[in-house]
Subunit: 214 residues, 2 copies
């Protein structure tokens, strides 16, 4: 079983399983989704990140005990990934590193889209000079802002601007873009390949999971 | 279509298509295989590598012109990858970097197996301290040596030694291991995950190819 960690708190099973559902449908693998306790707003600054780290580690450890064979930290910032890798015996995949590694496999110029002020550190570290630009859709600080028609147009404009800067591929530095299905909109409208962070983490997780079944 | 470059010369279509066939069967994608001219022994030293580089670039360019949408250099040393990436507009995947990126996605200790004296530079560069050891099966300098029962036992012994050095995953730094189906033998006998270089390059290539079909 693939264990997927959401780094915020929700009681709503539909929201909890948003990423796991995408991965199950895309790759035909079972995913168990769990979230960290007592952080309904997730990680949004250094203090909230520091509070989340021990929770992510404890959750990952308990999911390994429950029988998970692969863990996924489903957040583009890869919070607690190094610490969790040291705390369990199974592989730990992060959304941010997974998306970056897919981009590295192609070796093409990458335009990064996110909702934070800057691209997550893990992306910059892995991709270095392959990144030709980072763009946050205008006025968007929350993925729900992208659900309106205006939001969708802003997202397309952001991707287009990155293409004009020389991006040969668009990379999502936010898993919230997956939830709203933005990759297919950009692929269809702009005919540009998109590396979706949830699809990327799912690809590596499913590959490892299937191998265990051979 | 995925274009796959073999970095040696063969007139035998069965041999030419060994890697492409694995990828087509594994991922359900079409692969066109081509080889470079006039180098039946492939790349085995600096001089033969220097001779091969312009041929790989010319072949990749002509395969793009023929309609390939993704290129794969199917050799664990990733020969000519940087130059070919600069010479075409489509993504170029290399067997060595692909396998390394899969290992990076897990973050686990890697034991590398190959038939050369040292691990290819691209692996060392990408994996750094994740590599716990490199091992060449005793007496093996050619993958056909592995086709005998003795060869198979030597390969298992090499993998086992890497596990004893702390490897949590075995990575093949030789595409010849794919041709003889060694990954499944090691997975079955030693219950250790194996990153097979042809499976890895195929995973990234198929992912990109399928995205273009959405």
């Amino acid at each position: 079983m693939i264990g997927l960690i959401r780094v915020f708190t929700t009681e709503n099973p539909d929201i909890l399983e948003q990423h796991g559902r995408i991965i199950s449908e895309f790759y035909g693998v079972p995913v168990l989704s769990r979230c960290i306790p007592d952080q309904p707003l997730g990680i949004f600054d250094e203090e909230s990140e520091a509070k989340a780290l021990p929770k992510i580690i404890a959750l990952g450890q308990s999911m390994e005990e429950e029988g998970c064979e692969v863990l996924v930290i489903s957040c583009a910032a890869d919070p607690a990934i190094d610490q969790l890798r040291k705390s369990v015996t199974i592989p730990v995949i992060g959304a941010g590193s997974a998306a970056s590694l897919v981009a590295l496999s192609y070796g093409q110029a990458v335009g990064v889209m996110g909702i934070t002020e800057d691209a997550p550190a893990v992306l910059v570290q892995l991709l270095g000079s392959l990144i030709v630009g980072y763009n946050r859709p205008e006025g968007v600080t929350n993925t729900t802002d992208l659900l309106t028609e205006t939001g969708r147009d802003k997202a397309l404009a952001a991707a287009k601007a990155l293409q004009e800067q020389g991006a040969q591929v668009i990379l999502f530095a936010c898993t919230g873009f997956s939830t709203i299905g933005l990759a297919d909109v950009i692929r269809r409208e702009l005919k540009v390949p998109v590396i979706d962070a949830v699809e990327a983490e799912g690809m590596f997780a499913a590959n490892r999971y299937k191998q265990l079944r051979n």
